[in-house]
Amino acid sequence: MTTQAGEPSDDAATRGPGAPPPDDRRPRSVYGVGEEPDIRFSLANERTALAWVRTGLGLVAGGVALTSFASLASMSGFVDVIAAVACLAGAGFAAYALLAWRRNERAMRRGEPLPAPTGLPVLVAGVLVLALLVAGYAVTEVWRT
């Protein structure tokens, strides 16, 4: 049992022998601040982050489906461009999931109100733009034939 005697002692020393070991979880920017919230809130935050990951995954899957159709049905390269943008946007939302989790967990530990979900308007706008692009492509294809 190492207790890191060189560290500036937290309240673990005052809690007595039955106390849990000091919290050394990473990232320290989250677990180093504030107090442990109700674990159900942490679980809910984890599920929210996973929902963002799945949103990004949905965008990636849509892009993969688009580029598959484009190559199997020999569609125009414009569809491939849309597919690549959707895939990269999905990767971006997976990264945003991590940022949002960290921000929310910090706010909960400090007892502050949760920050606004800044990724949400970006997501809505992005999905709207992608949908319009695909619809525009479909309309021009119908127009040409």
């Binding site: 990473r26 984890e46 599920r47 949905g58 993969v64 598959s68 461009v81 895939c87 960290r102």
Partner: protein
Amino acid sequence: MTSAARDPGLQPERTALAWQRTVLGVVIGSVLLAAVNLRVGQPVLSVLAGALAVATLVPAVLRPPSGGLPRDGRLHSWGFLVRVASLVGVLGFLGAASAVVSLL
């Protein structure tokens, strides 16, 4: 710590299910990408996507990120979240690469 008591809202169970469908989604996505690339004639991208599916599935089977309450009541979400987000990021880049390759 009251971790022995069952949460009536079943939060740990819901979190475990959220993990499972996320991992399942990544696996299905990479298998699809591998199959499509095989069909289109891009064996390198196909192998990479297949490796991604294996890399997602094997750790999830060997050590499922259960989302259940640990004995000391301390969650270790960050490592698991970073891993699954990185897998989705890699899948996104593979998908984009496959779109760019078919564009060329």
